[in-house]
Amino acid sequence: DTAVSQTPKYLVTQMGNDKSIKCEQNLGHDTMYWYKQDSKKFLKIMFSYNNKELIINETVPNRFSPKSPDKAHLNLHINSLELGDSAVYFCASSQLGVSGANVLTFGAGSRLTVL
């Protein structure tokens, strides 16, 4: 069973369109994240939800709107897509460990290409 699954894996679309990426985790974790990885391989956190509540909201354009219907799902909707939105978007989840800091489990990524 896939622990963190995201769909679609690949997404090619035109500038100005609106698109969504979905994420689901079956690990029973309380916290979920969206990360963006650009062409230079830098991974940057965008959002974090804990039990459906938004707890981290980085400096991300308002065109990006996350939604968490329940703690196992975190979706990302992007309005009016721009060329600079082209990247790989990773979903992740975590649960605080008993003996240490929380460890993230990542999905396989969704590669978004805006033409």
């Binding site: 230079k40 391989k41 956190i45 804990n50 981290i56 605080l96 929380n102 460890v103 999905g107 396989a108």
Partner: protein, 114 residues
């Protein structure tokens, strides 16, 4: 927020031991040193985490000196399949809260040659 610094790239040959050092001069008391591995077209995968001294698992060892201002990931006898990007980051233990902010650096691209 505490940042980490690691070499951009490293080359090695099959069968060798690889050591990747990470600097984190401003590490906080509640920070845990964590390493991730990322293969092309995949998400990062947790390798190892430690707080102090030495931690070893089936994949790697993590050496942390007493001052905790640096750490070294050691991969024994690497193979071609260990070619990947390795990220060092600090995860903060907030007790019962999971609101720790996570910062990935640029990582170290390890190329293992035959």
């Amino acid at each position: 927020l505490a940042k980490t610094t690691q070499p951009i790239s490293m080359d090695s040959y099959e069968g060798q031991e690889v050591n990747i050092t990470c600097s984190h001069n401003n590490i906080a008391t509640n920070d845990y040193i964590t390493w991730y591995q990322q293969f092309p077209s995949q998400g990062p995968r947790f390798i190892i985490q430690g707080y102090k001294t030495k931690v070893t698992n089936e994949v790697a060892s993590l050496f942390i000196p007493a001052d905790r201002k640096s750490s070294t990931l050691s991969l024994p006898r690497v193979s071609l399949s260990d070619t990947a990007v390795y990220y060092c980051l600090l995860l903060t233990n907030h007790g019962s809260s999971n609101t720790g902010k996570l910062i990935f650096g640029q990582g170290t691209t390890l190329q293992v040659k035959p």
